[in-house]
C-alpha cells in the first residue's frame, strides 16, 4: 500500500535551529499538546502556519492503518522510546536525547557495491521523494503502536549504490558516541548497535528509511536523523541513527542476537506462533488501548512478505 504525501517545505525537513537550541526545543514540546488540540478543531487549510519552525504540530495525512486501527498519539510515539543508547527507561529517552546533534551527519554506503557513496544527511533528504507510510510497530516486549512514518524505500538508496552480485545481506551500523548517548557507556552491550537484513528483505517495498513521522522531521528519540523501519519484524530490527550501510556476503552479527542469541534471532519476524522465552508473542498491548489483542503473523503484512520465507522453518530462523 502506498500513500501519496506532499513534500514538506525544506524548512520543515531541516530545521537546524531545532537541534542547537534547547530552549526552542522545549517550546516546541510544549506546543505539541496545543498542536494536537488545534489539529482536531481546525480544518487543515485554516491551521495557522507556525512562525517558528520548531512549533511541531503533528500532521499526518492518514488517520488509521489499513485495518482501521487509529494512529498512536504523537505524544506517545515521541515519549515512549525503546532506545538503549540513551536509557533503558522508555520515558526517559526523550529528555536525554533532547540535545542529540543530528547535523552534521553523514551516511556511508559501502561494502559489496559498485559505487560506494557517502551522503550528507541534507542531500539524502532531498535525494528521494518522501512518502507517508502508516505502519504497525510491534515491540518484542509485547506492546505495539501505529505510526505514520515519513521516508523512502531503502531499495532506492541501495539501487543507487548498485550492489554487486555477491551481496546477500545488508548490515546497518548506528552512531557510536558515548558522550552523546550515555547508554553506550554500559559495558554489557557490544556497542555500536548493529542490525542486518537479507538483501531481498532490504529491497522489499515495505522496508523504508524513515526521516520523519507525523509529517515532522524525526526527533532524536525516534532515531533521527535516519532510521530503518521494517514493519513485519520486531521493533529492535528497525535500527536508529544510522551512519553506515554495508552490503555483505555473510549474515552480519546484530546487537541483540549477540547479546542473547537464544531469544533474538536474525530474522525476528513478528510471529505469534514462535514463542519467546519471556514475553508473549501470541498477544500484544496496543499503546492507548486497555485490553490485549492477538498478534498477527508478520505483524499483519503476511500477504506482502510471507513469500520471502517460503520453505523456511520459521521456528528455526526466528
Amino acid at each position: 500500500m502506498r500513500f501519496r504525501y506532499p513534500l514538506p517545505r525544506s524548512s520543515e525537513i531541516t530545521p537546524e535551529a531545532l537541534y542547537h537550541s534547547r530552549r526552542r526545543f522545549l517550546q516546541g514540546a510544549l506546543s505539541l499538546s496545543a498542536g494536537i488540540a488545534l489539529a482536531a478543531c481546525l480544518p487543515a487549510s485554516k491551521r495557522p502556519v507556525p512562525e517558528d519552525e520548531t512549533a511541531l504540530a503533528p500532521q499526518a495525512t492518514g488517520r488509521a492503518d489499513e485495518y482501521g486501527d487509529a494512529l498512536t498519539p504523537f505524544e506517545a510515539v515521541t515519549h515512549y522510546n525503546n532506545y538503549y543508547e540513551f536509557s533503558t527507561d522508555k520515558q526517559a529517552v526523550a529528555q536525554l536525547a533532547r540535545d542529540f546533534r543530528v547535523r552534521p551527519w553523514t551516511v556511508e554506503i559501502g561494502g559489496l557495491v559498485h559505487s560506494p557513496q557517502t551522503f550528507g544527511i541534507e542531500d539524502l533528504l532531498q535525494a528521494f521523494p518522501l512518502e507517508e507510510r502508516i505502519y504497525r510497530l510491534r515491540c518484542v516486549e509485547g506492546w505495539s503502536m501505529v505510526i505514520p512514518w515519513l521516508g523512502f524505500p531503502l531499495r532506492l538508496l541501495l539501487e543507487q549504490a548498485d550492489p554487486m552480485g555477491s551481496a546477500r545481506f545488508v548490515r546497518f551500523v548506528a552512531l557510536h558516541d558515548p558522550q552523546q548517548m550515555p547508554g553506550q557507556k554500559n559495558p554489557l552491550f557490544p556497542w555500536p548497535y548493529t542490525e542486518g537484513l537479507r538483501l531481498d528483505e532490504a529491497l522489499h517495498d515495505l522496508t523504508i528509511l524513515a526521516v520523519g513521522l507525523y509529517g515532522q522531521v524525526l526527533l532524536p528519540q525516534n532515531g533521527a536523523p535516519l532510521r530503518l523501519v521494517v514493519p513485519w519484524k520486531y521493533g529492535f530490527k528497525s535500527i536508529k541513527a544510522i551512519v553506515r550501510i554495508e552490503l555483505t556476503e555473510e549474515q552480519p552479527a546484530t546487537l541483540w542476537s549477540t547479546v542473547a542469541p537464544q531469544e533474538y534471532g536474525f530474522y525476528a519476524n513478528v510471529n505469534p506462533a514462535v514463542s519467546h522465552p519471556r514475553w508473549s508473542q501470541a498477544t500484544e498491548r496496543r499503546i492507548g488501548e486497555s485490553g490485549r489483542r492477538p498478534t498477527l503473523p508478520f505483524n499483519g503484512y503476511a500477504e506482502q512478505v510471507a513469500t520471502l520465507y517460503q520453505g523456511m522453518d520459521l521456528s528455526v530462523y526466528y
Binding site: 538503549y84 547479546v259 514463542s275 522465552p277 490485549r292
Partner: protein, 213 residues
C-alpha cells in the same frame, strides 16, 4: 530472647515507623511517578515491573534481618523480619494480580498458553506459592501451633529467594550468566541473595567446627 522482649516496649513505635516506611516507600514512589504523569503511556508494564522489583527488594530486606540480628546489640532487628516479609508478599500479590487479572484479564486460554511455554513464569509462580504459604503461616496462632515445624517451613524462604532470582534473570533482556545485556538487576539481586545465604552457611560451618574443637 529475653533481651528482645524487654526492649520491645521501648522500641516499638520507632521501629514500626521504619518498617512501614520501608514497606510503603515503593508504592509511594510509584504514585508520585503516576501523579507526575511519568507512566501514562504504558502504565501496566511499569506497574507490573515496579511491584516485582519492590517484592524482591523487600524480600531481600527481610532476609537481611537474621544475619543483622547476630550482631551484638542488634538482636531486636529480627522483629523486622516478619513485617518486611509480609510487605514483600503484598507486592508479590499485586504483581501477580496485575499480571493475571489486569494484563491478561483472567483470560485463562491466553494465560495457559503463556504458562506452558515460559519457564520464567514457573519460577515466579513457585516463589509466589511459597511466599503465600509463608504469609498465611505467619499468623501468630498458626506459628504457635506449628511450633518447631514452623521454623523448618519458613526456611522455604531461601528457596523462594532462589526461585525469584531465576525468575528475574530469565525475565530481563539479556543473558545474566554471560554478563550480556540489561542484567544489572539480577546481578545485584544475585549478589544480595549470595551474601545473605553465604553468611548463614558460614555461620553453620563455623559452629560445626567449634563444636568439634
Amino acid at each position: 530472647m529475653a533481651k528482645v522482649l524487654t526492649r520491645k516496649a521501648v522500641e516499638r513505635p520507632a521501629w514500626l515507623l521504619w518498617v512501614h516506611g520501608l514497606g510503603v516507600a515503593p508504592a509511594v514512589l510509584f504514585w508520585i511517578g503516576v501523579l507526575r504523569g511519568m507512566y501514562w503511556i504504558n502504565p501496566l508494564q511499569t506497574a507490573i515491573q515496579r511491584s516485582g522489583d519492590a517484592a524482591i527488594l523487600l524480600l531481600l530486606a527481610s532476609l537481611t534481618c537474621t544475619p543483622l540480628a547476630w550482631v551484638r546489640g542488634l538482636a531486636w532487628v529480627v522483629r523486622w523480619r516478619r513485617p518486611l516479609g509480609l510487605y514483600a508478599f503484598a507486592y508479590a500479590l499485586v504483581h501477580v494480580a496485575l499480571y493475571v487479572g489486569v494484563d491478561y484479564e483472567l483470560n485463562w486460554a491466553w494465560l495457559g498458553a503463556e504458562f506452558r511455554e515460559k519457564p520464567y513464569l514457573w519460577f515466579g509462580a513457585g516463589a509466589f506459592l511459597i511466599l503465600s504459604g509463608l504469609a498465611v503461616t505467619s499468623l501468630q496462632g498458626i506459628q504457635r501451633r506449628l511450633g518447631r515445624r514452623w521454623k523448618a517451613l519458613h526456611r522455604l524462604v531461601y528457596v523462594a529467594a532462589l526461585l525469584v532470582l531465576v525468575h528475574l534473570a530469565l525475565v530481563v533482556k539479556g543473558d545474566a550468566l554471560r554478563l550480556r545485556g540489561e542484567v544489572w538487576k539480577p546481578l545485584l539481586a544475585g549478589m544480595g541473595v549470595g551474601v545473605l545465604l553465604g553468611v548463614r552457611l558460614l555461620r553453620r560451618v563455623r559452629r560445626g567446627l567449634s563444636k568439634h574443637l
